[in-house]
Symmetry: C2
Subunit: 663 residues, 2 copies
């Protein structure tokens, strides 16, 4: 086997560098040796069986705190089987890849390196590294304080001890250039190259962009219908009711059809077939080393009831407390606003006029601080809940952050709408918030980091006297440059942005029909800025398998339900509606009735649209049927092998009690 044994020995062989590992500069020699040993060790002694090689710096410093990792083609294929990668079989169906019958898969030939995408290879390596677990080590060699116990993820401990700075997948310059050209490199309107994005960045990012595109297209009808309301300033009661009703039913249909589109995509990408249930535990998961009851494999176990206790008696009360605090802060803000207004009316000076802005600015700052602290605590709490699966961890984190962000973003709007009942102020605040948040987001999220990154690039290039912009950096510098790029923290913030936007569009749609148009405009620039961000600003993220948008589907649907309630409420308190009814009780009853009817309609629509298109469902059925048939056949084989030949005649024998019945 062409395997590298130790660090000191100069690597003679070459391999495609896939992942970069960066250790702390002062890492103990023992630690390095031990880690490299574990990474290169064979699978059967608990290693990852990968290639690793120090990155040779041009500057002569042989500190070796950066390593490049690769793997043999065979190792990658075996890894693909281990992580349950799904590939297209020769009969056109999607099947879990197995090494031994690799030839049966459609695009597999022995020299087709594209059978596994680079993103998939990097994902495989990541999984292997993260699943390196301590066997009998009680500590990380050289660091007595970094305790280990059997089953503990080594990489997790290295990270928490500060020894491992980061590990990240490398970009592929050629592929990236092609992708950017198709993505945001042209001006003419076109659909996103979703498949290429998935190919390069993996499923979860592919799905995010598919969802972004889908939502943008789906907003067009709402924008078109909302346009005349803005142009002709229609203020008729019944027209608003009509618009709001259309909006609500439309958003339900859109979300339901997304599920179908999403199933189609994830079937094509092989993640729909992939069994989430056999996911390995996430790297951060810890507990006693036990045996997984489903797979029979050794892995850490943690009792569910303990997790439940932590969720219900710590996390839930904490979130509730935070929500209460957030509302309290909002009330203080409105009180300050009133006070500032009163002060200005009394004084009428330029200082008092300036002070009018005080509360808003203060509130914005406080909200931002609260958001950041909360996010940090939410992440800590979710880790502490110790979820076995990455997906379940993510879902709990998303739910926590979502509820808080929703409250922070919309509570002041709700207050204006339903307590102050000032429609003009609501429309104004809504427009301000929507436009400000969209511009701010794009600047903070993409353009600012892009400029910083560009400056950084220029510096590096100057340093190495690479004068021409077009010329490629040498490999080592390229790696160092990528290592210094910011880390993309997942699709979370992108979805959150879309979610809040969806809230602005749907929650108060009957007051501000223009929101849909603004959202479309934002999303179109978002495609460009997000593309820039993904390709130029951030380190390449590891591909993450995903078959749907997870808890976000639920979040968007919940927003739809809340939207029904708020829109009905808004229509109910509008002066036009009030002028129709002399008795306000009658009005309230009518509004409540309409709300209930809309909700029922929503549920019926959601219920009657199947989540998975028929052709994909048939394919899934087929796979499941075959897998059951295979199980039966295997059982048969086992039975035949384990049993001696039986007398066949015995089976034809009549049932015992026959004679007693039939005469």
């Amino acid at each position: 086997m062409n395997r590298k044994g130790s660090v000191s020995q100069e690597a003679e062989f070459t391999f495609t560098p896939l992942v970069v590992l960066e250790l702390a500069k002062d890492t103990h020699k023992d630690t390095k040796e031990w880690l490299i040993q574990r990474i290169t060790d064979k699978k059967n002694v608990g290693g990852a069986q990968l290639y690793i090689k120090p990155l040779e710096m041009d500057d002569g410093l042989k500190t070796h705190n950066m390593y490049i990792i690769g793997a043999s083609w065979r190792r990658l294929l075996l890894g693909a089987e281990a992580v349950c990668l799904v590939k297209e079989y020769q009969d056109g169906s999607m099947r879990a890849f197995t090494y031994l019958n690799k030839e049966q898969y459609k695009e597999f030939t022995d020299d087709n390196e594209d059978f596994l995408t680079m993103a998939e290879c990097q994902y495989i390596i990541k999984r292997e590294l993260e699943n390196l677990r301590a066997i009998d080590e009680t500590m990380i060699p050289g660091y007595a304080q970094a305790k280990l116990y059997p089953g503990k993820s080594i990489f997790r401990r290295l990270q928490t001890s500060g020894i491992l700075i980061q590990y990240f997948p490398l970009h592929n310059r050629g592929e990236l250039k092609k992708l950017t050209l198709n993505w945001y490199g042209r001006i003419k309107p076109a659909f996103l190259p979703i498949d290429s994005i998935q190919h390069y960045f993996g499923d979860s990012i592919g799905l995010y962009f598919a969802f972004l595109e889908y939502l943008t297209v789906a907003l067009f009808p709402i924008a078109l219908i909302g346009m005349p309301y803005y142009l002709f300033t229609w203020e008729d009661y019944d027209k608003y009711v009509l618009f709001a009703s259309f909006n609500l039913i439309w958003s339900t249909i859109v979300l339901e059809f997304w599920k179908r589109g999403c199933a189609k995509l994830s079937y094509k990408w092989g993640t729909l077939v992939k069994k989430r249930k056999f996911e390995e535990p996430r790297p951060g998961f810890h507990g006693k080393l036990g045996i997984n009851p489903a797979t029979g494999r050794k892995e850490p176990t943690y009792p569910t009831y303990k997790r439940q206790l932590r969720i219900y008696f710590v996390s839930v009360p904490f979130v509730c407390l935070c929500l209460y605090f957030s509302l309290h802060v909002m009330m203080i803000y409105f009180r300050m606003e009133n006070w500032a207004l009163a002060f200005h009316q009394e004084e009428q000076t330029s200082i008092s006029a300036f002070m009018l802005y005080g509360p808003s600015i203060l509130y914005a700052v406080v909200i931002e601080i609260m958001n950041r602290i909360y996010r940090y605590v939410a992440e800590y709490l979710t880790s502490w809940e110790n979820h076995r699966l990455e997906s379940s961890h993510q879902n709990h984190l998303v739910l926590k952050v979502l509820v808080f962000n929703f409250t922070n973003c919309f509570s002041s709007l709700f207050y204006i709408a339903f307590v102050l009942q000032d429609m003009k102020l609501l429309r104004q605040s809504l427009a301000t918030l929507l436009i400000a948040s969209q511009i701010l987001n794009q600047v903070v999220e993409s353009f600012l980091p892009y400029c910083l990154q560009k400056r950084r690039n220029r510096k590096v290039k100057q340093k190495f006297q690479v004068s021409r912009v077009e010329k490629e950096l040498p490999f080592v510098q390229q790696v160092k440059l990528e290592g210094e790029m910011d880390t993309y923290l997942g699709t979370f913030d992108d979805y959150l942005e879309l979610f809040l936007q969806f809230g602005y569009v749907s929650l108060f749609s009957c007051v501000y029909p223009l929101a849909a148009i603004l959202a479309i405009l934002n999303n179109i620039t978002e495609v460009y800025s997000d593309g820039l961000k993904m390709c130029r600003v951030f380190k390449r993220p590891f591909s993450e398998p995903a078959s749907d948008i997870g808890v976000w589907q639920l979040a968007f649907e919940t927003m739809g339900v809340i939207a029904v309630i708020t829109n009905c409420g808004l229509i109910g308190i509008s002066p036009q509606a009030r002028s129709f009814f002399e008795n306000s009780t009658e009005l309230v009853l009518l509004v409540v009735a309409v709300e209930h009817i809309l909700l029922v309609l929503k549920f019926i629509v959601a219920f009657s649209i199947p989540d998975i298109p028929t052709d994909i469902r048939n394919k899934l059925f087929r796979l499941e049927f075959e897998s059951l048939e295979a199980l039966k056949q295997q059982q048969m084989k086992q039975a035949e092998e384990s049993l001696p030949e039986k007398k066949k005649g015995l089976e034809e024998r009549k049932r015992k009690s026959s004679k007693d019945f039939v005469k």
Copy 2:
């Protein structure tokens, strides 16, 4: 093979009679011969490969319009595999039975006839008979008007042509006696012998009784808490709110935990593991003979869009029309009631006093007639929709009937509660309806048929001079007697009864807390009367596999949601609540707020209780994991067999572009 070739040849061999087939008395000889041929034909020529034998009448008449059907032990085991029966494997897990490795199942020994229960054997035979399909016949021999086409179920056509009167499974007297003793044969309170019921009557009936028992036990807390309200005639506003809130949250928890209990039962019975997806098409399903995309087997196909068209453009409008009509009839009833009241107040004679009852009686009769007509049409429509699976057919039928029955039963109560706002009348009507319907149901459903059946039994016994009650009838007479018993039409009406009862208990619980106690009393007697009905009154029904209570779960949950709305409404319009608030708008807003909070709470509770207990989920995961592993191994085997030996070294080869990257 010990197989019977034709009718004329006297059967020499014996077999356990399992199923009885009754043809019309004047059935053509050709038809009989053809049918028997098809039933006894081997599987590979499209037959059912069963034993059949005419029932020999003692009265010498050899008309042979009744046949008894059985099967060889081997045939039954093969049939068990074909219908995907699930049995306990030697390692304690539940697995789909396969004939070839039958020895690996826990209770299987070659002479253990109890491995398959009698109910299972009968189910297997039923499925085989119903799946006898026309191959090249264009008509039923002897009946030119009874057209056949390839793929048409022969038994279905025989039934619709009136040639086949019925086919039913035989009782097992000994087993039945034991079952009745454990069930309703003793007075002392005990839990139902659910497993024995399932063993004898099959899954769907077993689940019904498990649900009945579960619901009864679950009603106890509500009954206990409701007791003091009745005893002390508490009329406090806040106490009612408390009771209603408890009731609503309790009913949510109860329904959620039922899912878990149900999963436990159906795992034990093997139906949870059983794949619903590979269900064969239901006998009534017709269409062009095509190929099932999942299994690759030949079966009738029918395009989904056609079914959708029929559902949405015929069935749905029809149901809506009927609902409108039902409401219209109710309005007429209330108008007549008013008119009768006015007439009585004017006249004050005994005739006018008697006429006061007129509208109620007329309304009850009209409702009964409407129910019957509607039920008939609903069954016709659902058949016409041509659902592929029996379960989907049942669900659509249940949904149709449910909506209509709900409207008929509760619309007058809703009218009294929310339009007339007469709480006293509501309580009175509720009590009358609840008690009357319960008594009526038990009489009509069980005692009346029981008396009729008893009389019929006595007649038969007299005819054959079986004087002593204890003495068993001869087999032939026993079969004839069972053939004359009424047919049990499935658990539909039993669930409907429970559903309406659940409605009476939960919809207006804050007005009438006593309802829960009445429901418990009814359910306790229901156990006895249903037991009597199942064991003594009806023909033994065929066992039906079921892993849950299907659409009824949804129906009960929907009732829970409606209950939240009505209870909040009732509390809102109560005079106590009104006296609290001077401004009625405020009251309505508060009520709506409480309603929304309760609904949100309901959904959170439903969401946070997992539907399947952890241990069962682990077992399911294990099965699925193994089945996937088996598929992989099978693919490997195929790959190994189909491919020549490959050079192993090739796999170790380095990736193409390595040298360009690493220097």
